[in-house]
Amino acid sequence: MPFLTIVYALLFYVATALLVGGLAYKIRQYAKTPAPLKIPTTPAPVTRSGVALRMFRELAFFESLFKSNKWIWLFGYLFHFGMFLVLARHLRYFTDPVWTWVDLIQPFGMYAAFAMAAGLAGLWARRFLVDRVRYISALSDHLMLALLMAIALTGMAMDYLTHTDIVAVKAFFLGLMYFNWQPLPQDPVLLLHLALVAALMIIFPISKLLHAPGIFFSPTRNQVDNPREQRHLAPWAAKLENK
């Protein structure tokens, strides 16, 4: 087995473990922490299903962001939904046979990479051009965009400039999943792409990418507006009543 294959195999096991373990830790933390007061941003839905719909609009359309700023919304939407399609398309490298719906979105997934890169470029430009956003940007905010952009560009390079042996890549990942390791093509662009993706997986649970699970636990968005109808009491607050 080539040395690099072993390195990458181990890298992806470690990255996956950190991503899954880290996210599980954070999600558990969010779920276990009580929300002692009703603080939905009103007007808010008065039923559970209303809340589900509000959350769906937030996730599917970035509703609040749309209200806020059309440029951020446009770039953010291009990036996230471009990435969503790209990720869905990538499922073909982890499934055999490839699922039908993954096959169907394949052509869109190819173009989605451009949307993703364009969105990232727009978001990044704002960090330089808008004085307010420049003020709040830390080095890590730029690096995060750089990392995502590099992943998108190396991915696109393999589509349009220098093809890699994609059949072998798929064999490598299926091999990882079934513990039957196969050699990884020693292609510099591919190796870079994969290393960057692994890096993204590793930093996910320790960075602002936590906004992904965070949104589901945001009390201003996920609470039902019914404080008069239903008494809401956190366990630690209930203890105060027995004093």
């Binding site: 929300a35 951020i72 830390a138 906004h211 949104i215």
Partner: protein
């Protein structure tokens, strides 16, 4: 008038370029030892304050899911940067919601996250130093907890929650704010924010009875501590004498009179405001709230109705059931608590009040949605009732009503500039500058529709506008209570 310049109202509102540090000098007086201690906080900065503060921060992340999620989730997208009235009015970048949050978040990162512990420079994490604490004191007292930013945040991050946590941490290391803490102390000792004792309250209310009788020839009662009344009314103590608040109180009394429903104020709970929320202290907020429960039990009422007050309605609507419930000893046919506007609105709907709109023909009205009512509560049974019910009552009471521009009302409403415990003279510059967006919107309807008066349903809004309107060339009496309009229009003695 003061050593700062009132911002200029431009033809169109513009998002200003930032100017670093221009509001760093703004900070309210610090609470003295005695006022700290009666709330259970240390009297002065404790020796190991850094550790105490970090311990408190960790405790709060474990007690409040919102605080924990909000600290982790911000991606610095910039959606909130132009949403705060204090940023728009002062141009200080630390008044951008994300930057205000970051004053605390960067300390959280340094101490409680992997990236902040090992790569502080990379993620902008810093240690908690005296300079940082000073910044906290300054800028977490430049947030009125109005939640406008939370409407626009893609994750619903609410800077009010961060501000409350920051103020609680500061209280716990011994650096509290004089205004809030002194006032909460007064509620514990006397029963209301103004420190108005029972005999003075009774006196004031008798004076009002005489005044109304002189005006109208009808004996409208202002009862206090009357056992067996149907309704306990809890209203901000400013309603007892400040203008235009008191005209609102007269309005409530006339409505009860016409409805023929017995009501009473309570000297024990003679305050709707609950400044425990401003300082983020669940325990103090609960202690203040319990006075309402005690009064309701003691007086044997069937219902609780809250007067016109913004954050008080938030605490009452959203938190009272949690803090002081369950209210199973009250009449289950009515929500607990109700807002006075829900009560009046319902009577109007049922045709139980006769209103002569022409009594308000000397005024062309607009309406200021108070931030805590708009974004942190509801009225009626449908979402958004907090917008329609006050407007319905205004329209039923006067002939001329025009709304301010859409992006400045309803859920997008701007804070008056004095909310969140910032209503003091030592913060006058902040208050005047923070009122800019509301003043711009007001000016627009003044020019387009000849609006002469603005109604509000919050004691803080009313006091704040009385004070800052003149800075922008309006008269101080152009702010009115909604129930003042009802009071003017109501025809007494019609329904019996």
């Amino acid at each position: 008038m003061a050593d700062f310049e009132t911002p200029e109202i431009k033809e169109y509102p513009v998002i200003p370029h930032l100017q670093e540090g221009v509001m760093a000098h703004s900070k309210p007086f610090v609470a003295k030892e005695e006022f700290q201690e009666q709330l259970g906080f240390p009297g002065e900065l404790v020796d190991n304050w850094e550790q105490v503060a970090l311990d408190k921060m960790q405790e709060l992340t474990g007690k409040y899911r919102g605080f924990q999620v909000f600290l982790d989730s911000c991606v610095k997208c910039g959606a909130c940067t132009d949403k705060c009235h204090y940023y728009l009015g002062t141009t200080d970048p630390k008044n951008m919601p994300v930057a205000r949050q970051d004053l605390l978040r960067k300390v959280y990162r340094r101490n409680f996250t992997f990236a902040g512990k090992y790569f502080p420079k990379l993620v902008g994490a810093v240690d908690l130093t005296k300079e940082v604490l000073d910044d906290w004191y300054s800028y977490f007292h430049q947030c009125s907890q109005c939640r406008r930013c939370s409407v626009y945040c893609p994750y619903g991050i609410d800077t009010a929650e961060i501000s409350m946590a920051a103020r609680e941490i500061m209280d716990c290391v011994g650096v509290g704010q004089k205004y809030c803490n002194e006032i909460i102390g007064k509620v514990y000792k006397i029963g209301n924010n103004l420190g108005l004792p029972e005999p003075a309250l009774v006196d004031t209310l008798e004076g009002l009875e005489e005044e109304v009788e002189e005006d109208t020839g009808v004996k409208v009662r202002f009862p206090v501590d009357e056992k067996g009344a149907d309704v306990l009314v809890v209203t901000p103590s400013a309603d007892f004498f400040a203008e235009p608040h008191v005209d609102g109180l007269i309005g409530y009394a006339k409505v009860f009179h016409e409805a023929g429903i017995s009501w009473t104020l309570s000297s024990h709970a003679s305050e709707a405001a609950n400044f425990g929320m401003f300082i983020g202290s669940y325990e103090n907020m609960r202690k203040v709230s319990m006075r309402i429960r005690e009064a309701a039990l003691d007086l044997g009422v069937k219902r609780i109705i809250m007067g016109e007050c913004g954050h008080a309605w938030r605490v009452a609507y959203s938190f009272l059931n949690t803090l002081a419930g369950p209210f199973d000893f009250l009449d289950p046919n009515y929500p607990v608590p109700q807002h006075i506007l829900e009560f009046t609105h319902d009577l109007i709907q049922r045709g139980a009040l006769t209103l002569d709109k022409s009594a308000n023909d000397d005024m062309i009205m607009t309406y200021h949605d108070s931030c805590n009512v708009a974004r942190a509560s509801r009225m009626g049974s449908r979402p958004g009732g907090q917008f329609t019910i006050p407007r319905d009552v205004i329209r039923a009471s006067c002939n001329h009503f025009f709304d301010m521009p859409q992006e400045t009302i309803h859920e997008a409403t701007y804070c008056c500039g004095g909310g969140g415990g910032l209503l003091t003279d030592d913060l006058m510059e902040l208050r005047v500058k923070g009122a800019l967006p509301r003043m711009e919107a007001l000016k627009q309807v003044v020019e387009e529709h000849g609006v002469t008066h603005m109604a509000a349903i919050c004691a803080i809004c009313k006091s704040q506008f009385s004070k800052v309107l003149p800075y922008y060339g309006f008269t101080m009496d152009s702010i009115v209570s909604v129930h003042q309009l009802v009071s003017n229009a109501i025809v007494l003695g019609n329904k019996q």
